[in-house]
């Protein structure tokens, strides 16, 4: 399964229990209502599980927007396939 914006957005909506959350690639994690630092770790672990990837904490550091996470997941998957 390839990582895509709808899938990542769906993970975030599911984790935060908010089906109406508007999410684009430019959405900054810290701008989401009630966001906590550790919520990003939850999102990443869910992405890891769904797409069979693994992120390090220093990689998570660089993720500011949903687009950053998506791009990183796509690159990791491509690297694993190569």
């Amino acid at each position: 399964m390839r990582p895509s914006l709808p899938k990542v957005a769906s993970i975030i909506r599911h984790l935060l229990c908010d089906d109406r959350l508007a999410i684009t690639a430019e959405t900054e994690f810290e701008a989401l209502l009630g966001w906590d630092d550790m919520d990003l770790v939850r999102v990443v672990v869910e992405v890891e599980c769904l797409f069979n990837l693994e992120f390090g904490l220093t990689e998570i550091d660089r993720l500011r927007t949903v687009g950053d996470l998506l791009q990183s997941a796509v690159s990791k998957q491509a690297l694993a396939a190569a």
């Binding site: 984790l15 229990c17 906590d36 630092d37 550790m38 939850r42 672990v45 890891e48 599980c49 660089r62």
Partner: protein, 442 residues
Amino acid sequence: MAFSGFPFLLVFLPLALCSFAVFASRGEARAKSCLIALSVLFYSMGTGACLPLLLLSVAGNYWLVRQMYGSARAAWWAGWGVAVNLAVLAWFKYLIPNPVPPLGLSFFTFTQIGCLLHHASGDIEPPRARDYVMFAAFFPGLTAGPILNPGEMLPQLARDGDWRMTSDRLAIGIGFFIIGLLTKTILADPLAGVVASGFADPSHLTFFSAWRAACSYSLQLYFDFSGYTDMAIGLAWMFGLRFPDNFDQPYRATSVIDYWRRWHMSLTRFLMMNVHAPLTMAVLRWRRGHGLSVGNAAQKTVTGFAGMIAGPVVLTMALISLWHGAAWTFLLFGALHTVFLLVNHLWRLHRLPALPPVSGMALTYFCILVASVVFRASDLSNAGSLLAGMAGWHGLETASLNRHAFMEIVWLAGLYAIVWAAPTTRQIMQGEPASRLAWRPI
């Protein structure tokens, strides 16, 4: 040797600036050697008997960092290194009778543990010896922090050129240093008398006196620590290095979670990066591996909340308690903050309506004030007694509200105005807000 004392201001600092100006103009190696010699001199003048411990710690940790590079067992080396560092810290801080811990032991130990963990993958090239010694023992941060992050500091130290003393760096550094010096000497130090007498025997303190002692301590602690940090940041600037921020208007926090992002940020970041985040990640991966959800709904269950939120928070706060020492008051301080944080997380998780900012700030500050009374008290009995006084159990004593007391209230109100309304030192000096230093490394 305190930064605000005459020996430092009149002898050490001029000597350091003059010698650095001379040696820095002759190249990078001499600039760094000069700063290392100054750091050894600074530490020797403070507590010469502990110098061998510092040198041994720096040498041992640097040997480990070099061993780890390219090794298949890098994580194993890092684990042993962390264990030995913590054992040394525990020995001097908690285990030997009547301990007077070596100056700065906690700071240079944690800074080096951070470096070991930074290199634990085995694929990051170790710093050069001079750079490492500077990282671990550079005198501005040696005794009271901030705790340095290897990801931020080692690249600064590794630069080959640009070590000359410049007027820009000197001006910014002196600005930071003077603001820190004034904060400590004019705002913090005069409160010491009221605090000492109030906490010495709180059993007789009436309502007004108890609040005066508690508020004075809260302000003294902030001005003293933030002033000292500003002086350390200023000193580092003078020698061309940028230290991380340690405070970002913490008493303006509108929640306890927010407070811990603003108070002693370098320690909080260290613990978030090396304890809280890895532990949370391990718990989340374990849950997903066992088919359990990590969503908000799961976090609202008792087991989900305990594993994903409470466990990492309890462990992190326990370490913060231990950081300050082995005393019941520190343990209760940590326990109180743990409860505050967990309530805050439950509030956030259940999307309860946020308080208006002023109410949130007042409630947060009240929680912090209560915990700080416990932190400062000599024992739990004194802490309870002072808190009872604040609740009015020892009487109100309105008759003592004379002109002197009125002036004290006005002075404290002025200090609170500075705490709540004044910009940070970084905003004053550089026109930029304090970097929030979330748990993420740079």
